[in-house]
């Protein structure tokens, strides 16, 4: 446990915020990162996201509060995270990327940190803005999101030892891979349910014989 959650590891995730290239390099080559901390950030991000949807002020918030469900949003974010990791890993494996699945998970988790760090103050600030002032809120949210995206890009570039162009191509292919995974999952789901249905009907036929 100590190995994953040491004070040094926590601090290191913040070091990556300010020194992305160096930070992510050492995650790949000196094992400075921690998957559990990355997972914690993902879960925490999901909670912040739900809280923002529910708690942001009426002025900036056009969400029907009855449609917010923190648990399903948590699972949604986790699923997306999983898809992103697997998609990226399966593509970079084929494109001579150096990163391991572990590294990919860590850099994606750590890259969410700016979004977490801006969503919380943004939600608080939304409580004290009126119309025409909501730009403050949107700027904060936008900056956080943009910085997160940038970190993710630099992270993928660093751990796989790619050029920028290759990274962008990889990102595009990752999205394609994610769609393929979703497609396969749905197909398997429907096929399995059909097979189950078949055996079920055979069973009922036998039963009523």
């Amino acid at each position: 446990m100590k190995k994953y959650f040491s004070r040094d590891k926590w601090k290191y995730s913040f070091y990556c915020l300010t020194h992305p290239a160096d930070g992510f390099y050492e995650i790949r080559h000196r094992d400075r990162g921690s998957v559990p901390i990355a997972l914690f950030y993902v879960v925490f991000y999901a909670l912040c996201y739900s809280w923002n949807r529910l708690g942001a002020s009426f002025i900036v918030n056009d969400t029907n509060p009855r449609s917010v469900d923190a648990v399903s949003e948590l699972f949604g974010v986790l699923l997306l995270f999983l898809l992103l990791c697997i998609g990226n890993w399966s593509i970079t494996c084929l494109m001579s990327g150096e990163g391991r699945l572990k590294d990919i998970a860590i850099i994606i988790g750590y890259s969410l940190l700016p979004m977490i760090l801006t969503l919380i103050p943004a939600t608080v600030i939304s409580q004290i803005v009126a119309q025409n002032e909501e730009a403050f809120y949107y700027i904060i949210v936008f900056l956080g999101t943009a910085y997160s995206m940038l970190l993710m890009l630099i992270g993928i570039m660093t751990i796989h030892n790619y050029t920028l162009l290759k990274t962008l191509i990889t990102v595009f292919l990752t999205i394609v891979a994610m769609l393929i995974i979703i497609f396969c999952a749905m197909m398997i789901f429907s096929l399995v349910s059909q097979v189950i249905g078949f055996f079920e009907s055979v069973y009922t036929e036998l039963l009523f014989r």
């Binding site: 009426f58 002025i59 029907n64 004290i128 009126a130 119309q131 025409n132």
Partner: protein, 505 residues
């Protein structure tokens, strides 16, 4: 003893039964043969009390003329019109006549089944479709005599004034072979006549006071989506030739407000708008409200035959900016205010008393009732406002006149009957706002989903809060800064002292 007990038991049972009956009869006060609902900010269906309930019908058979004979049942009534002389004109299309009834008690006034022409011969109508009368109570009556392709203009005594037939092709506006087939007519305060002619996609025809054709008016714009454009570019010449032309749809119902704006119902392609409000230039100036939807039902994306966009067939301008349109698809009547807020929905198709089979025309009479002509049932159905509907009508009217303060008690009553009515929350919120009760106003305006006014209330509330609390907040800030400064200084000094002590050692 035994019988005593028995009678007691009977009494209790009877009492309980009566109580149950009384209670249920109270509960089902709004027992109407259709569902009444509204759409909230998030376009979800919210069930509401009935705003209008069935209130009988006008049947031809029960109308007696001067001699006490029945005028006979209506046959396919096509239009119903309330004129400025407070008489009701029913276009009894299948019987080729116009039935004039008193606006108050629907008693017989006259039956117009023809007129004497210039040559002194008697002429009749053939399947008339529309009627209107000028604002002047002694003014002319305009009858769209569709079967004879003409508009017949009669005076106060039902004597012929003029016949509009084959309108002149003045400035070559009309194509050769144009067929004049008037369906609906309406006349504004300046005696300009507006005519919807069948299969005329150029818009509404205007005739001036001399009954001369002037121009087409308010053509419905053709909307071509990006997707359709892409398809068109991708298709071959042969395919293009076989595609249907994209031409404007036609209007199918008309009304005019006191300022001369024309309300015209039509079939919108997307189901987002059912009524246009045309200014004198022929441009649509209707307001669409928060949902950007004045096309009736919003929740239309199901796949059964009963789903799909509402089919507007007629529109009526009522008072204070309120207008209603009639949907023949599901037999519903949608009522909006001048800002495009959906006020209430009522009516339905069916065989029950008070339901429609094929509604075609809508009008409001002097008693505040809504009249709907039904083509298949051959009657004119009547609806009267409930307390709920009347409250909304009055409150919206006050708002339209700018007397929002007077509307406050009415909105409170509305909320007692229907706690989901967003417009009432906005009305109350605004009044609290002007009364200076900003916190309460914020609460109401948030419930009414009015961001604009909520923001104003919030800004005032924030200012008040700052004025009251700024003093101690600033003091606390100063104290904190000074304290922090002092602590750092002390620490630094201590550290320095320790360091120097270290070096000394």
């Amino acid at each position: 003893m035994m019988s005593n007990l028995k009678s007691k038991l009977q009494k209790t049972v009877l009492l309980t039964l009566t109580a149950i009956m009384l209670l249920t009869s109270v509960c089902v006060a709004d027992d109407v043969p259709y569902v009444t609902y509204n759409y909230d900010y998030w376009k979800n269906i919210v069930y509401t009390p009935a705003a209008y309930i069935p209130d009988g019908k006008i049947e031809g058979t029960s109308i007696l003329d001067e001699e006490g004979n029945s005028i006979g049942a209506f046959k396919s009534p096509a239009d119903v019109y309330l004129a400025s002389d407070e008489n009701i004109y029913i276009v009894d299309s299948g019987n080729h006549r116009i039935v004039v009834l008193s606006g108050e008690d629907y008693s017989y006034v006259a039956v117009i089944d023809g007129f004497t022409n210039e040559n002194g011969e008697w002429e009749t109508f053939t399947e008339p479709q529309g009627i209107c009368r000028s604002d002047d109570p002694n003014g002319n009556i305009y009858i769209a005599d569709s079967g004879n392709n003409r508009v017949v203009i009669l005076d106060d005594n039902y004597e012929l004034v003029h016949i509009i037939q084959n309108p002149e092709q003045g400035d070559n506006v009309l194509e050769d072979g144009f067929i004049f087939a008037p369906q609906k007519v309406i006349v504004d305060y300046a005696e300009r006549l507006y005519v919807i002619s069948k299969n005329t996609e150029e818009g509404i025809m205007i005739f001036n006071t001399d009954h001369q054709f002037e121009a087409f008016y308010g053509q419905i714009p053709v909307v071509v989506t990006t997707w359709q454009r892409i398809w068109y570019h991708l298709s071959t010449r042969e395919q293009k030739d076989r595609q249907t032309l994209r031409i404007s749809t036609e209007y199918n119902g008309l009304d005019v407000d006191p300022n001369g704006f024309i309300y015209a119902s039509y079939l919108d392609e997307n189901g987002l708008q059912a009524v246009m409000r045309l200014n004198p230039k022929g441009n649509d100036v209707i307001k669409k409200g928060v949902n950007q939807n004045i096309g009736g039902d919003i929740d239309i994306l199901e796949t059964n035959s009963y789903s799909g966009k509402s089919t507007a067939v007629d529109v009526v301008y009522r008072d204070n900016g309120i207008y209603s349109f009639l949907d023949s698809k599901r037999g519903r009547i949608f009522t909006y205010d001048h800002e495009g807020n959906l006020l209430y929905i009522f009516g339905g198709l069916g065989a029950q008393e008070g339901c429609f089979k094929s509604p075609v025309a809508i009008e409001q009479n002097t008693n505040g009732q809504i009249m709907v002509a039904d083509l298949v049932q051959n009657v004119v159905l009547l609806f009267r406002a409930t307390e709920y509907g009347a409250l909304i009508n009055t409150a919206v009217g006050l708002r339209f006149d700018g007397d929002e303060e007077l509307a406050v008690p009415l909105w409170e009553e509305v909320l007692k009957l229907d706690a989901n009515f967003e417009l009432a929350y906005v009305g109350l919120g605004k009044s609290y706002l002007s009364a200076g009760e900003n916190e309460k106003a914020m609460d109401y305006l948030e419930k009414g989903m009015s961001r604009q006014y909520y923001s104003i209330a919030y800004r005032r509330y924030r200012n008040e809060f700052l004025v009251e609390n700024l003093e101690w907040m600033l003091t606390a800030l100063v104290v904190l800064v000074v304290a922090g400064f002092a602590v750092t200084k002390y620490r630094n000094r201590k550290k320095y002292r320790d360091d120097s002590a270290d070096t000394l050692e």
